[in-house]
Amino acid sequence: MSMDRPAILIVEDEALVGLEIELAFREMGIAEVRWAPDLEKARQILNSEAIDGAVLDVLLGDTEVFPLAEELARRGIVFVFHTGHAQAVDINRQWPTSPVFRKPVASAQVARGLLDMLPDGAPAQ
């Protein structure tokens, strides 16, 4: 991993939405994009690959993403939330540094939000 070629993890249970965000990152020049539809797959990727930032869908099926958010925070990996639920306020209280994007939102906005959190900023668009 390096900040001029950051690796991004998208945790999103809806394949189409995940793919759309993935393409938004690719359009911004990010080649290393991984996608996980559930927590299990996300942990597997985290344990085998270096990840610099993550987009987290809040509800994966019936499972909340928060345990994974805690894990990312412990590892010092930045992340943003992407949610269809109306609990942005609660999330903000617990994760004040992570922006919450309410669905529907343009994927480019989500991608830009995460890239802005990376230490060296995003690569040129």
């Binding site: 394949a15 189409l16 793919l19 509800l59 639920h85 109306a86 309410r102 669905k103 529907p104």
Partner: protein
Amino acid sequence: MKLADWRLSHLPVAAFVCRRDGKLLAANGAAPSILGNFGLTSGRSPFDQFTWDEDPANPRPGRALLAAGVEAALHNQRIQVQRPDGTRYRIAIGLQPIPNRAGRTVALLCCPFTAGEDLSMRLMLARHAAIIQNSDDAILSKDLNGIITSWNPGAERIFGYSADEAIGKPVAMLIPAGRENEEPEILARLRRGERMDHYETMRQRKDGELIQISLTVSPIRAPDGTIVGASKIARDVTEQQRARDRQELLTREINHRVNNVFAIANAIVALSTPFASSPQALSRAVRERLDALSRAQRLSRPGLADDNLASVSTTLDALVDTIAKPYESNEPTARRRIRFAGPEVTVIGGAVSNLALVIHEFAANAAKYGALSQPRGTVDLDWRLDGENIALTWVEHDGPSIAVPPATTGFGTLISRRVMVDQFGGTMDLDWRPAGLVARLSIPVEKLTR
């Protein structure tokens, strides 16, 4: 009068004897409890303290009552007694003339009793008791120490304790852990004379089950106005609460679904754009995809009766049927163009839209380049259980002959692979034979049903 004293003191009820002019001759020990000492001064007439109950605003002197009692025995005369301070309270009184040997009334035996023993009062009490007995609400009373003093059948039904089990016990036995300070608070407010209306709280049944109740608590006052206890009316609102919770859950779920639908629609537009050859082609492809998704959504629409709205299921059969619909003729005798068969497979929640989209992409692709682009072309879609997987086979017949396999970089292939392989953890194998496409898909059953 020694004899009269002796006799009166042995009567089990309040009694006094007076002369025919009303002057008191003797009273027994129970009489002051009804009339007060002020009404029982020797040589004065207790009847001067009486007013008629029927018309307190225009009181007639107790003397009229006395005069009637001199003529004949009177039972159960409702009257009011006036205290020296002008306040009044209700009693009833019976009068029995005492004749001399000549038959002339010389004295009267008078038995005052509390109005509670009055017949009309009894009737009223019986009426109230019937209302309480037949109420669906729990109606109980307690004293100021919180000890239960009465318990109706509604309370038996709602709380599960019989009247025998409940009366004499502290009402705190109904209070679940964590709410122990509610009862002292209620008692403190009662002592101040406050009433509590529709106070919503939780109580615990005998069987341990927690119920939501709406509680109304009012002080019970003694005749002298002091608060001696409380009446409590508790209505079981567990069902109403459940209905409210369900409503809220449904609203949240619908809100979530709507947001998700827009997110998916956004994704479809964004993902379709790079693959479209023209704005018209883009518009058409997006419309078809959204249409397929909306029809699939309809299959998994949440029902109001379901407690778990997120896991509404449909079957693979119904899903294929709805996605195939745009490619079938409306004429009832027309042969099907997409024939499908397989065992019943449940498809739940999130898997519905993804699987619908994959099947839609196959059908749309066949309509554009494959078997469904020809008038006689057909598709066979079969599935069977293969261990832990559902194995689907898509076979196209009578389409244009395929010389070279088409490039598989379109939206359909991209999204199908993404769903089949990455989301479902299954496989997708496309075999472009000269006679038409044969596609083999395999999906772990648990991905569809979990």
